[in-house]
Each structure stands twice: as C-alpha cells, then as structure tokens.
C-alpha cells in the first residue's frame, strides 16, 4: 500500500465518517433524554436532504418558480444551510409533539414509542415517495467543484468543507452539551429525570431542545451528503440512518463522544474494506467488525451500564 493510496482513502473515510457521526449524534441525543431509539431519525436526515434540495434549487434559480435575479454563492450557501436546518428542526419537533409526547404523557411502554418511531420513519419515507414520485432527484451544485491533485491524491474542495464543517459543528454541539444550561439540563435528565422538574426545569422543553439539536445536525448532514453524492432517493434515510444508528450503538448509545467516534470507526472500516476487497464485501465485513466490538464491550465503547431504576 502506497502512502498516496492510504491518504486518499483516509480523506474519503473522514468524509463518510463525518456523515455517519453527525447523524449518529442525533440518535444518541434523543436516547439520552428519552431512552428512546428514534428510528425516524434516519428519515429526518432524508427530510433534511430534500429540504436542502428544494431550497438550494430555488435559490440557484433552477426551480420552476424563478427568482427575478441571480443570487451570489455566498448568499445561497448560508441561507440554504440555515433554512434547511430550521425547517428540518421543525419536522423533528413536530414528530415529538404529534407522535411521542402524547404516548409518553399517557404512560405508554417504551416499546410502543420505538414502534411509533419506526412507523413514523416509514411514513416520512413513503410520504415522500407518494408526493415526489419514485424518480431520483439531482441535488443542486451549491458550489463549483474544484479538484486538487497533489501527487497521486485527488481531493475536492467539497470533501474538505464537509470534514471541516462537521468538526466545527460537532465542536459547537460538544460545547452546548457540556457547558450551557440546556446541555446541563439534558445531561441531568439522562442521569435522573425525576429530580429535573423539581429544579423548576420543564422536561418537555428540554426534550424539544434535544430534538431541535439532533434534527438540525441531521439536516446539515443531509445537505453535505447531497453536495457530495448528488443523487437523492426516497429511501436514502433508511440506508444511511441504519448505519448511523449502529455507529451510535457501537460508540455507546447515550454518549455523544461515542456517537462521534462510532461514526468514524464505521466510516473508516467501510472505506478501507472497499479499498482492498471487492466493494460487495464492504458492509458485510464492516458490520462483522462492529459486532465484534459489541461482543467485547456490550455497552459500546463509551457507554456505561445503565441502572434501570425509574
């Protein structure tokens, strides 16, 4: 294996791992406060990608309804990102309000919440299929692709942006969870929920905040995914979402650090397996590796055994 070859794959793995990590964080955040595997989260990522597609297409004047003028890239990109994160966060919050909270308030067993999440994910997926049809969508070019070649390595500017932006966002998320009052309340809920309202904190408000955080991360991942792999399909949420979910479990579900590390571990395994073996072996071997990790450490890499009390 030459160094060039290694670096090339390393960069690819960083990009792929960043997508998985950003989505995995959403699973783990919701699990932390609700002990619920939010199976609709993969489809929230899909909603993010499609929302980004519509907003981006509109702003770059490729939509049926045209703007009377062309917008420069430095307007289009931030507006697309912020608007997409906002709308996707609304979708995430709506799911929590419509589907999860009523069940929770009526004391439903967690299993029913998980099944509801699974069904809501399918609902989003097939709602998309019914509304937008089965044909694939081409994600708009938000920025011109520049290819840099250094020695035998080719890197696009998109890859670099994806990796850097992911790191930045995950850094901000880490800061919010560790240092701000909302993050501290989230952690308090995950450690002992009963005491939280008796400190004057509305648990429902913190749960909403958690969904906003997780969904906007997924939206960002959706836009970046669309930019890097511009074909959108109605079931993309399920395909990528399951992998991110497994990454979160391997990292230790409930642990944010675990979700990030898990995402990159899965990303690296998949890319490097595909580099040496036929790509049809990729997922088989990647998931065998993850199974081995779980067999050695069933709580995941950064997970702690949870007391089941209350």
């Amino acid at each position: 294996m030459t160094l060039d070859f290694f670096i090339q794959n390393f960069i690819n793995a960083m990009q792929w791992g960043s997508f998985l990590a950003l989505i995995a964080v959403g699973y783990t955040l919701v699990y932390g406060v609700l002990l619920l595997i939010n199976f609709a989260h993969g489809d929230i990522f899909m909603v993010g990608a499609y929302t980004g597609y519509f907003i981006g297409t509109f702003l770059t004047n490729n939509f049926e309804i045209k703007l009377p003028f062309d917008l420069p890239g430095w307007v289009v990109i931030p507006v697309t990102i912020v608007a997409t994160m906002f709308i996707t966060a609304l979708v995430g919050v709506a799911i929590e309000r419509i589907a999860y909270r009523p069940l929770r308030n009526r004391g439903a067993h967690r299993l029913y919440l998980v099944i509801t999440a699974l069904m809501f994910g399918l609902l989003l997926e097939y709602g998309n299929l019914a509304l937008l049809g089965a044909s694939d969508r081409q994600f708009p070019n938000l920025f011109d692709k520049i290819i840099y070649s250094i020695g035998g390595i080719t890197v696009t500017n998109i890859k670099i942006y994806v990796i850097l932006l992911s790191f930045l966002i995950m850094g901000i998320l880490w800061w919010i969870v560790q240092k701000t009052r909302w993050g501290m309340a989230m952690r308090a809920i995950s450690y002992d929920r009963l005491a939280v309202p008796l400190m004057g904190i509305s648990v429902d408000q913190i749960i909403l905040f958690t969904f906003v955080l997780g969904s906007s991360m997924a939206a960002l991942a959706g836009i970046m995914y669309g930019t890097a792999f511009p074909i959108l399909r109605f079931n993309m949420g399920m395909l990528v979402g399951w992998q991110a979910f497994i990454a979160a479990v391997v990292g230790g579900i409930g642990s944010i650090r675990g979700a990030m590390v898990g995402g990159y571990i899965l990303g690296f395994t998949q890319i490097f397996v595909a580099a040496f073996l036929p790509s049809t072996y990729r997922d088989l071997i990647a998931f065998v590796v993850l199974l081995l990790i779980l067999a050695i450490k069933p709580t995941g890499l950064f997970g702690v055994p949870r007391r089941t009390k209350v």
Partner: protein
C-alpha cells in the same frame, strides 16, 4: 392567610385509596412533621403537593395559587423545594454542577448566546457559579464542590441535596426522611442543620421522618398518617402521649 392549604386531599392508586381526606394548613416559618408507618401515604402527600401525582379529589393552595393541574416545574418555580427519601442528586455531575443546574430558570441567556459565546452567557454563567459557591459556603460544603456526590459520605450528600433545594429560593421546603440511613452523630448534625436552614433562609419546613429523635426535637406540630388518613395531630408531647398513635405506629419505640 396560610402559606400552604391542603383541603380534603384524596388520591387513589388503582383501587387503593393511598391518601384519604388529608387536610393541612401551614403558616409561614412553621416547622411541621408528618409521621406514620411505612406505606401510610406520607411520600404520596409530598408527591401530590409537588405535582408528581394528580389528586383524585381535594384542593392544594400555595401562596394564593391553586396547584391542582400545574406541572411540577411550575409548582417548584412558585417556591416549593424538596428533597427525596433516597437522595436524588445527579451522581455523575459534580456538586457544583448539581447546584448550577438548579439555577436553570434563573438564567436568561438565549440559545444564540451559546452558539456565539456572547458576553451575556459568560456573565450569567459566572454569576450562577458565584451564587452556587456562596450557598455551598454557607453549608460548609466548599471542600466538596468538585466531587461526585456518590463519593461523599451520606450525611454530606444529604446536606448537598438540601442546599440544592434552596437554590430556587423556596418559601416552603419539603424534606422527605432526611435522616434515613444516618448514624446518631449525623442525625444530631441534621437536627441543627434543619433548624438553622429554617431561620437562615426564612423557609417553612414540612418534614417526613421516621427518626423520633428528629421529629420530637424540631417539630412544632406533628400529624400522624395511617392508611392514608390523619389519625392524630398536635404538639410533640401530645403525639407522644396519644394512645392511638402508640398503638398504630410508635409501639415500643417511645418509652
């Protein structure tokens, strides 16, 4: 006007009547005890007042506010703090962080402040940390600020929990068996602590306790609960001499 008025409070767990026609009036700066055998419904009364359970019948008024139908976090914000029978500190967070979280509703920086790390956020967080430190200092807890609660002796944990309950500046403090699991030395300290808290923070204290030494020492008035209903009420001396109470609950404990 009483600070807290509980009127004809009744609560069912399934078919079991766990609290039956419970009445209480608490005036400001009183120290009132609630005793009774295990399963008599004492903690249920606290949970009803805090809004963790919804009563089937009856009314609860605090400071002129009707508490029925309010959420626990709203009731807490009106000025009712509490501790739990089995200490419920966040064991994975340091003592100071336990107190900082309790400041949540007293801070007003917004989400955007946290995204852009504004001066307001820094100022608010510093203020909260300072207030928490001052409060911990009053409780002589400064040496433990960075410890995890689970690594502290039981008596210290209880002190931290009472301290945390006071962050919200309550006018009514509910203590649910604060002496549970304490040794005699710690119980002596607790008795002094509760008296001191009541005077220092001008709070009304309502206390559930099994340790007769605590109850008889500090309470001005005691209610005895059995099978969800009040069977006796009065001063410590009256309770001590009440044959009904001795029969139902105290047995040989008090001689």
């Amino acid at each position: 006007m009483p600070l807290l008025k509980v009127d004809k409070l009744t609560h069912y767990f399934g078919g079991l009547r766990s609290v039956d026609n419970f009445n209480l009036e608490l005036s400001e700066n009183e120290l009132v005890g609630l005793i009774g055998p295990n399963g008599a419904g004492k903690s249920t009364v606290f949970n009803l007042v805090c809004g963790l359970y919804r009563p089937s019948e009856g009314s609860i008024t605090f400071n002129g506010h009707n508490l029925i139908g309010r959420y626990p976090h709203q009731i807490t914000s009106l000025g009712i703090g509490r501790t739990f029978q089995n200490i419920r500190l966040w064991n994975e967070l340091s003592v100071i962080d336990n107190l900082r979280i309790a400041h949540f509703s007293q801070i007003d920086y917004k989400l955007l402040d946290s995204l852009f790390f504004t001066g307001r956020l820094v100022r608010d967080e510093q203020k909260v940390t300072q207030e928490a430190m001052d409060l911990l200092d009053k409780f002589n807890l400064v040496p433990y600020v960075n410890e995890l609660p689970r690594n502290l002796p039981y008596g210290i944990q209880r002190r931290v929990e009472i301290c945390r309950a006071l962050v919200m500046k309550p006018s009514l403090l509910l203590l649910d068996e604060p002496a549970a699991g304490m040794n005699q030395g710690e119980i002596g300290e607790l008795i002094n602590l509760v008296r001191w808290v009541k005077d220092e923070f001008k709070v009304t204290v309502w206390i559930i306790e099994h340790q007769m030494r605590v109850i008889m020492n500090i309470c001005e008035r005691i209610q005895v609960l059995d099978f969800g209903s009040i069977i006796a009420e009065g001063t410590p001396k009256e309770i001590r001499d009440n044959p009904l109470v001795i029969k139902a609950y105290l047995g040989e404990e008090v001689t």
